[in-house]
Symmetry: C2
Subunit: 928 residues, 2 copies
């Protein structure tokens, strides 16, 4: 091939002096290469690499970082830099057959900064450098587009004026806005060539006024000034600040990239397009892309003109098409991955503007990885890195078929739990149950301002959940992810009127029974009823891929599952045990909550014990189911954790009911009697006594900060009979299934400990009850008693706690809350600003904060094992299913991670990748 | 003196064998001494020390810990232990002229365990050992008290049976209760000698039944069995568990103490009493005590008989009186401190049962310390340790004069803020202001379920505060301590009906205007009106004492003060600057809160800025006052910290008002219009719009866990204009006073940072505004920008944060909350159980938790100084005024502590003591 490359002989070394300041790239060969980031910066090294790979990239040169360092030391560069730059420019002009800003076909260039590390705050880009009063005319003539030429020149003056000459941007904006107003133009594009020429004249006046001199007409002067401005921008306040807080040395300096401009809109032999080397949706091996002739890149993406399928290019310019196919095929081979590329054809000549590894769906990622191993492009080891662990989700959830109907997006919330759901709106959990009907015959979407534990029965039957409040770790988000059910959370544009049972959005009102479709993978809420496409969890390609990955994995993967159904699901996805079984979730079931409430409302231990006795057989039955599902694997059961008021009616609701009671009519009273029947109202007369009494107890239990309140082991310590009952249910269940031949390994986990003595207090109860049950039933089982480490203090004194705890499980949700001082339920008020301002790089509830929270996890593990070298340590927060967090857990030597069932595949792959990375490192140098 | 000691020649070494197992004490001399805790345990060493000091303590002997270790190794002791014990017993019998459990005057002994460290869980005490069927008759005859003798024997069998023979306590209780029932006896003491003899016979049957043998009648056998039971108790589960979690080696073993019993109720020449060598209330040098003839110790304390002043003893038994005075004078000299002693006279012979350094008031502590230096008993350096820093509080607050009226205690709450207050009850802050009247003419007590920031104006005028809910660090407690005002918090027996304006307690109803008296030092709530006694902050003895202490101090002491008045107070107590000036407290003032509310309710930045502009001059004026009060000293000002909803009406209140609005009559509507006038209600018609709109904003701001929510620097980051306004007020004030010649050192403190970038974000605003103000006003002042370290993450990444922060101040209140996961406002639900169960030794909000939170303070300091070696580090939580916490801050090298003004004296002394302790350690061996 190589129709676009020049014969090798024409590529000359630019200079023979001691210091090489300028690195040329172009004509199929570059002075530098992809590894020279120290000298060329990230961008310059990339341009060199692409050129060396035989890509027809617009040629140019990189002025290396040493020149910047010189500039800082001496407030200017040595003549040698200027000399080498002129030499490189001459070489570029020769290669292009053009002169910078001169002649009928002037060479125009872009000037960009490019440091070793990507760094905001520095000068970005100057385009169209080389334009002046003469060359703009040449460009207009050559392109036959006077408006395009004028607009390019106008932009150059504005950018150059602002970033090189340091004229306030507002000075140019004022001129431009005044012109638009005067011409009654709505859009920038409404200004024609004549108007733009007037703008240019006024821009030049602005330059003169601010700098006391004319806009430089000499292209070479423009280039020197732009280069020096890039060097100076390394030292500006924002850049220095950014480096300081990101630990980047001030001494590195930046490189400068100068590259020939190319235009796709110079006529019918010009054009531009984008494409993929394989189908990014399915992974099929087919050439895939779109283009437009006589157009700029923004025309393709803006949607003003409709792009054409890439196969059409073959008809228009068969040679260019063949060249493009040939190049992209070679690109795939060079980068050993599917490529996403951009190209421009300038007057019949093809230029590659960008190529990068292409984004793809999970389905495509697995297929491409398998194909490429088959094609001999990559090894099996390399293949396992070709799928992002999170992408495996695509195999587990249904997707919306967007071709099945009109896609009218009503609102976009947080993609809280992926998948798709289509159903009829309901506003209460009870209505969800009613409308879903027997066997969940009807598909419903539960729409709430936010969900609470009392909504669980409705969430279980709903196809999907939509909330107007709450973040990625809100109740709705966490619970649905656990269920593998689609959820869009915190869709702020939606108002939910729970009283009227209406959803308001975009001026439209939706009522119970109206159809909506949710896309939990993107967070979109879509009006009406689309079709869904089924998940492919048993896809044979997926299974083969996992078979390659699994042998690497060193860290265990368990699941968080509270009920037998989830446990069975988790096993199917490959979970090697339960890392977190939350016993309280069992109590929110409709047949149980009355007993739970009776227990809480009991005013003495005796009545409390009586209520607990009724819960005992129910808990036991649940545990029997979970143990059976996990035959042969450990099951970690956490004792009661949430504050008790979560099980009672809400305080403000009671207050309002009491306030309006004196005014209630018979019908309203009857409804209140119904509402409070299970608390003892039989007739309207009881309301006056029962509801205020209930409020008194709720007030007693009321907490300002429930997350930091009377919960976790604090409940078991103040009400030891609760721990006793739960321990009894666990061991009675364990003994019962063991007698049936099930291999059972219960691990009893004490939540929210901060001190050794809390652990000791609760462990003593568990051990005592275990011995009692074993004696009564004449059968023993092996078991462990351990603790959750979810408070900073627990990590700090982990050596102490390990004296009593036989295992640790890091509850990183709570640990993140207390380490950061962020309430998970409230953080959505802060997080958007924090992410936008760059204060946080990611949501610490989604990705484990290694710097802070991670320190505590590492410290807790090390200290715990100092006391108990064989201490089993795991993690059971939401992070257990996040790939980066799994990698961290692998690195610090945890025994296992535990995540929601639908995250098990992701965690398994993430763990395998982390271990494979170690292996590759040991084997030396092979990169992923 | 020495009428009670035998000639020295009679004291013989007990054994000459290689290992000395048994140490005798008695007759004025002991084999051991106070330093031999390893061998004799704490108790045994103390008995030896007292004996050596010439005290007539009942004689006896200690079997040392090696015997216990032998017992553990061989499951029994060597014959040599038995031999030495018999030898010591013979010596004891000879000294006493009695035989163990034999003859007309049988020797009876107590047997007690005594390990090196005080250790619950082990066998405690067996009294009256030596009694049997014969000696009980002798005792009855000799004492002429058959009931006393029988009861002593009964107790022996019961104790011995339970702890030595391991018979369940219930077995004896059943017998005893049955007898009481049968005899229709209400109290144990209602059983006469005959009944008790019947009990003894049945107890013996219980022993026979459980052990298959009779209760041992041989006193020597009793002794051996009791000794071995003590040894075995070292190995019981509770003791092992205690040692494990307290890091006490299992190898230490325990000693056993055998001591002659003495009785003060053997007739008219016997008696018992307690006393002090000086007056514990005033410190006056006078012999002070009470006694009863023919009585046991419990008679003196039970109040059944009224004890007699010690001077009466001189009339009854002049020789014993002289001996007691002589002994106690010598005791004072020996221990170099005021003594609190117990004595028994058995048939004319004086025995000292206990002596210890006496508890005393702060006034007495200072006076005694000065006296003892004058008397040459102690040095000035020693004297400064004779006052507990907390005791200095006694000089700063009024006290109740309990002789001024009847003391009827209605309830006892937490001693939340010491001092005394007497006044008329009010139930709302507004009523407090009304009833207190101009210049606070009338004394009022504000009684609330709990206080909120909106009550501040009422708290300021009240003489004292009483709450039925909340702990030592509740809002009421913290604010009143800051004000130096008496507060009793969390008096759970009191019900406050805020609607009816009634206080219910002990079946009594109190209304507005009723008088009560509060004792904030003890937590008592007293009915009616007592007189108070004035504080003595300028007491010359106090000043002299502080002059001795101050030169030692190395760590600075600042005060937390928000308003000029508090700052002036703090300077008067010796504060060297302000460590925490909370700007939000300024916003709760009545004339400011409307602007604050307008700022919060603003729906855009422009309106927010307009409201902030109105707050600016008010803040500036406050700062001017504070800067002037602190002329020459630094003032640390914290930017806005609390969540914004604290400034708005409560959510549930709004919900109720909205719910009842449709039913409200004209009068009620008028009252609602008044209530919401400042939010824009002018007539009843406005209510329907204004109140729901207000609720909507409150709902938007509502948080599940406000403590972990949108507060601290998170406010300044989301609303940078707030930080701007505050920085402007600070620097405009600083420049203004500097122009008047005031030396001003503002330190701007950013709260609740968890990351470097938060600090950088806010510091950038402060620095920018500072430069603006300096330029505008043409005057510069020195200033610092630093951060509070109050989240675990901030300590963990303190090296990062120190890149931007010029100082650190540990906010240990919040740091304790997040490290422990304890909400300060809710912890009272948990803390009582935790303290009772020994899970926590003290309230971590009162005394800094060195093990957990302290680790983070130390870590944060070290890491911060790694980045910035001259980093100024302080602490400004409640702990800044707690002596133990101040000591810790001294030890880890903080620069200063900051506490409420009324804690400054305490902190100064605590800091001096900590430094003096270092000095004494360096100088070697001198103890305090």
């Amino acid at each position: 091939m190589a129709t676009t490359t020049l014969p090798e002989a024409e590529v000359q070394p630019i200079s023979k002096s001691a210091t090489k300041y300028v690195y040329f790239f172009g004509g199929g060969k570059a002075d530098g290469n992809g590894k020279m980031k120290d000298e060329l910066g990230g961008k310059g090294a990339g341009l060199a690499e692409m050129t060396n790979a035989g890509l027809p990239v617009p040629p140019g040169f990189t002025i290396q970082t040493e020149a910047c360092r010189e500039y800082m030391r001496h407030n200017g560069v040595s003549p040698e830099v200027d000399r080498q730059m002129e030499e490189a420019l001459a070489h570029l002009e020769q290669l292009q057959g053009q002169k910078l800003g001169k002649g009928e076909n002037p060479l125009l260039v872009s000037v960009r900064s490019g440091a070793k590390f990507s760094m905001p705050g520095m000068m970005d880009t100057i385009l169209n450098l080389g334009l002046n009063d003469q060359s703009v005319e040449a460009l207009a003539k050559r392109s036959n587009k006077p408006r395009f030429a004028a607009d390019s020149y106008r932009r150059l003056i504005q950018m150059f004026g602002n970033v090189v000459l340091e004229i306030p941007k507002s000075a140019f904006d004022e001129v431009f806005d005044a012109k638009k107003k005067h011409k009654k133009a709505k859009l920038d594009t409404d200004l024609d060539a004549k108007a733009l020429k007037e703008v240019i004249e006024e821009y030049k006046k602005v330059v003169k006024k601010h700098t006391k001199r004319d806009f430089p007409q000499d292209p070479h002067e423009q280039l020197v000034m732009a280069r020096d401005a890039v060097f100076r921008s390394w030292q500006n306040e924002r850049a220095k600040h950014y480096r300081r807080i990101n630990n980047i040395s001030d001494d590195l300096g930046t490189a400068v990239n100068v590259q020939a401009m190319v235009y796709g809109n110079l006529g019918d032999t010009s054009g531009t397009g984008v494409g993929f080397t394989r189908n990014p949706a399915t992974g099929a091996k087919e050439f895939y892309g779109e283009f437009l002739m006589n157009a700029q890149g923004e025309d393709v993406v803006s949607g003003v003109r409709t792009p054409v399928h890439i196969s059409e290019l073959h008809k228009i310019m068969p040679e260019v098409y063949d060249q493009l196919r040939d190049i992209t095929t070679r690109l795939e081979k060079h980068y050993k991955d599917m490529q996403d590329f951009e190209f421009t054809i300038q007057e019949g000549k093809l230029y590659m503007l960008q190529t990068r590894n292409g984004k793809r769906t999970g389905l495509a990622a697995v297929k491409v990885a398998l194909q490429m191993v088959e094609e001999g492009l990559i090894t099996q080891e390399e293949a396992i890195f070709r799928v992002e662990p999170n992408q495996l989700y695509d195999f587990l959830v249904p997707r919306l078929n967007e071709k099945s109907g009109k896609v009218e997006v009503l609102a976009t919330g947080l993609p809280a739990s992926p998948g798709a759901a289509v159903g009829q709106i309901v506003f209460t959990a009870d209505d969800a149950v009613k409308r879903a009907g027997h066997d969940r015959r009807n598909s419903v979407i539960l729409v709430r301002a936010e969900t609470t534990p009392e909504d669980i029965h409705g969430m279980e039957v709903a196809a999907g959940i939509l909330t107007s409040r709450g973040g990625m770790t809100s109740h709705a988000a966490v619970v649905t992810r656990g269920m593998g059910k689609c959820c869009v959370a915190g869709a702020g544009d939606i108002q939910v009127d729970e009283k009227k049972q209406e959803m308001h959005v975009k001026g439209q009102v939706f009522k119970e029974g109206d159809w909506i479709s949710l896309d939990g993978t993107t967070g979109r809420v879509i009006k009406g009823k689309l079709d869904t496409m089924s998940p492919k969890a048993d896809d044979p390609e997926l299974l083969q891929f996992m078979n390659w990955a699994e042998p690497f994995r060193k860290i265990g993967v368990r699941a968080n599952a509270d009920i037998p159904r989830d446990a069975i699901q988790a096993r199917a996805f490959g979970a090697e045990g339960i890392g977190l079984c939350r016993t309280e979730h069992m109590f929110f079931e409709k047949d149980r909550i009355p007993h739970m409430q009776a227990m809480i409302l009991a005013d003495n231990e005796k009545n409390r014990r009586a209520a607990l006795k009724k819960l005992l057989p129910m808990q036991r039955a649940d545990f029997i189911g979970v143990f059976k599902a996990m035959d042969g694997f450990p099951v970690t059961i956490r004792t009661l954790d949430p504050p008790l008021h979560e099980f009672l009616p809400r305080r403000e609701e009671l207050m309002v009911d009491i306030a309006v009671l004196p005014y209630a009519n018979a019908k309203e009273k009857k409804s209140l009697v119904e509402k409070y029947r299970r608390f003892g109202t039989k007739s309207a007369g009881d309301l006056k006594k029962v509801v205020p009494a209930l409020l008194r107890r709720v007030e007693e239990l009321h907490e300002f900060n429930p997350m930091l309140g009377h919960r976790g082991c604090r409940l078991g310590i103040t009400y030891p009979e609760i721990t006793e009952m739960q321990a009894r249910a666990i061991f009675e269940a364990a003994v019962a299934v063991a007698k049936e031949g099930v291999k059972v390994f219960p691990e009893v986990m004490i939540p929210l400990t901060a001190t050794l003595k809390e652990t000791a207090n609760q462990a003593a109860i568990v051990h005592r009850v275990a011995q009692e049950v074993f004696k009564e039933k004449e059968k023993k089982v092996d078991y462990l008693v351990g603790t959750m480490i979810e408070l900073p203090r627990a990590s700090l004194v982990a050596d102490e706690i390990a004296k009593e705890a036989q295992f640790f499980s890091f509850g990183t949700n709570d640990l993140t809350q207390t380490t950061f001082g962020f309430s998970r339920d409230d953080v959505n008020k802060i997080l958007p600003t924090y992410l936008a301002e760059g204060i946080l790089k990611q949501d610490p509830f989604a990705v484990l904060d290694r710097e802070g929270v991670g320190q505590l996890v590492k410290m807790g593990t090390e200290r715990g094992r100092k006391t108990r070298p064989d201490l089993k340590v795991g993690i059971c927060g939401e992070h257990g299913g996040d790939p980066s967090s799994v990698e961290f857990c692998h690195q610090i030597g945890l025994n296992y991670v535990s995540c929601s069932p639908f995250r098990v595949l992701t965690a398994r792959l993430a763990a395998a990748q982390a271990a494979a990375t170690d292996k590759l490192k040991v084997e030396g140098g092979r990169t992923k």
